[in-house]
């Protein structure tokens, strides 16, 4: 096969209608084809959660949390809002849950939903003046706000100041924790995927594609951006509230860069724009960082190294690569 006469051709797998709609599926083969990539990870995760020791169960929980943060980041970015501050939403949710639990002694099944809704609302209101910023300027604001809140809490010493709020009420047991977070993660992923391919979700994508044309289509893009912001921040706020109860603690560490950077790194590795990619990325990165703990202080160095290698080796992301391999066949064809 020399270069002169052959080229690689790509063809979609022979499937009659590749569609998310249930009506389009007609044969067993096709059902299997569509379900296979969805069912496998769900069952795999469920089984892992059942059989692994407590330590690794905790790792799964934290992976789920980062996965949700990453999915939310990807959702925001596919609505044209590049966020560098998932920590903001996360931290706000965490503090609301912490305050409600500490000062009002509310149980977790009240604080978490409350923190989710009001955390989302509060974050949206906070960012409302800047939704008209584009690209990196918006990113900058989201990067700054959590830093400001952090320093603000430090300076004013409210809500426990530097020490934070400790001794919050935990979940009854690890199983409740696992069930809540794993369900929440899958629901978030599939609901958002469905939402973004609906007629309504289409508008969010169109804003990213071209905001001026969307305006010229008679759409109030700022209202839609605010909605996207609300959805995205609700997800993060939920994670924050969950984490608060899981660790029985909230404090300024919830605003640290880790919660902003890791979701982005997960998205870059997993593949931006698919919502599932970032999830995959998070499940690569979080366990990896646990494995690297053996190296002690060198951990972060290796971690950074892996990050660089992953990004450079597979710039499009793991998920895009896998899905291409799954959905397309490649073959050499002869040019006459």
């Amino acid at each position: 096969m020399t270069k002169e006469n052959y080229r690689k051709e790509r063809i979609d797998r022979c499937i009659k209608a590749r569609s998310d709609d249930i009506y389009a599926i007609s044969s067993k083969n096709e059902i299997f084809y569509l379900l296979f990539p969805r069912v496998i990870p769900i069952t795999a995760l469920a089984i892992l959660a059942l059989i692994l020791p407590l330590y690794w169960q905790k790792v799964i929980i934290s992976a789920c949390i980062f996965a949700m943060l990453a999915v939310s980041w990807d959702f925001l970015s596919s609505c044209g809002m590049l966020s560098l501050g998932q920590a903001l939403f996360f931290g706000i949710g965490s503090y609301i849950a912490g305050i409600l639990n500490h000062y009002l002694h509310l149980p977790f099944y009240i604080t978490i939903p409350f923190a989710t809704i009001f955390g989302g609302l509060f974050s949206t209101l906070l960012l409302l003046p800047v939704v008209r910023l584009r690209g990196i300027y918006f990113a900058m604001v989201t990067l700054i706000l959590p830093l400001m809140l952090m320093r603000g809490i430090e300076a004013t010493r409210i809500f426990g100041g530097n020490e934070g709020i400790t001794g919050l009420s935990p979940f009854p047991n690890i199983w409740v924790e696992l069930i809540i977070i794993i369900t929440a993660m899958w629901v978030t992923l599939f609901a958002l995927r469905r939402f973004i391919s609906s007629d309504y979700g289409l508008i969010f994508v169109s804003i990213r594609d071209n905001d001026r044309a969307t305006m010229a289509s008679g759409i109030n893009i700022y209202a839609f951006k605010a909605q996207a912001l609300f959805i995205g921040s609700c997800i993060c706020a939920f994670c924050g509230a969950f984490m608060t109860h899981s660790y029985m603690f909230t404090g300024i560490p919830v605003f640290t860069m880790e919660f902003s950077i890791l979701p982005i790194a997960a998205s870059a590795i997993g593949g931006i724009g698919s919502l599932a990619g970032p999830l995959l990325g998070a499940f690569v990165l979080v366990p990896l960082s646990e494995i690297l703990r053996e190296f002690g202080t060198l951990r972060v160095v290796f971690y950074g190294l892996v990050l660089v290698i992953c990004v450079v080796a597979l710039p499009e992301g793991i998920f895009h690569y896998l899905s291409r391999k799954y959905n397309e066949m490649e073959r050499w064809v002869k040019i006459e």
């Binding site: 002169e4 080229r7 690689k8 051709e9 790509r10 063809i11 710039p315 499009e316 895009h320 690569y321 291409r324 040019i335």
Partner: protein
């Protein structure tokens, strides 16, 4: 001077240019006539090497796979795999469509940036030459290119390619979106450039009417295939061309 043999370009599975063979002789003005998406832009991008850059970028992010077959020779040298900057050094300079200029620099600076591959003395001479060809740029010397009108930007864009001392000048849709009076002016300048600077010129255009009278030979492209070729006059009098491109 330039010879293209059996050029084929695929964008993924779509064929953009099919079995194209053309040649350009020293000193000619050659026209490539074709409607939208006939493959004109792909052709000049292949000739100037820009397509290689696009190809690499698409490959990196896992996008469309661009495949190029065929052979391009320039002055007897195979340049098929040569990068754009090396081709410029050999003398193939492209002026891209939709008058791309450096909008935040003023006119003079645009020309100076374009003089990247020449020496300082040549730069001064060339700037003088550009101002001679396009006298209407002289009063605008200190204006930012972004504030120029479409016609002036197009003149500047051609002027910039002249700064790189081309032997073969590729013009991609120079008349696009220009008003009739400016089109006429521009066509006159192109003829003058050929005469004064001794360059070979390849024009890709869909407005056949103003272009056909000045070209020595022309090719008609349709869907990436060569459908007609002949001298400018022959094409001008061809009834099919008249029907398709003149709109009688």
């Amino acid at each position: 001077m330039l010879k293209v043999e059996n050029l084929m370009v695929f964008y993924e599975n779509a064929l953009a240019i099919n079995e194209l063979s053309i040649h350009i002789e020293e000193g000619e003005i050659v026209g490539i006539i074709g409607s939208n998406s006939a493959g004109k832009t792909t052709l000049v991008n292949t000739l100037s090497g820009l397509l290689l850059d696009t190809q690499l970028k698409e490959k990196r992010k896992g996008g469309e796979r661009i495949t190029i077959f065929g052979k391009i020779t320039f002055l007897g040298k195979d340049i098929t795999d040569l990068w754009p900057d090396e081709r410029v050094k050999m003398g193939i300079v492209l002026s891209r469509e939709r008058h791309p200029v450096f909008v935040e620099s003023d006119v003079e600076e645009n020309l100076k940036i374009a003089a990247y591959i020449t020496t300082k003395r040549e730069m001064k001479e060339n700037i003088g030459f550009v101002y001679k060809v396009f006298p209407s740029l002289v009063p605008l010397r200190k204006r930012k290119a972004g504030f120029l009108s479409g016609g002036e930007q197009q003149m500047l864009a051609i002027g910039m390619s002249l700064m790189a001392k081309p032997r073969l000048l590729l013009l991609d849709e120079p008349l696009l979106g220009l008003s009739p009076s400016i089109q006429v002016k521009l066509i006159e300048s192109i003829v003058q450039i050929r005469k004064d600077a001794n360059v070979t010129i390849l024009i890709c255009e869909q407005f056949a009417r103003p272009v056909l009278p000045i070209i020595d030979r022309g090719y008609v492209l349709e869907n990436g295939m060569l459908t007609l070729e002949g001298t400018g006059k022959e094409l001008y009098n061809n009834p099919e061309i008249k029907a398709a491109y003149f709109g009688v």
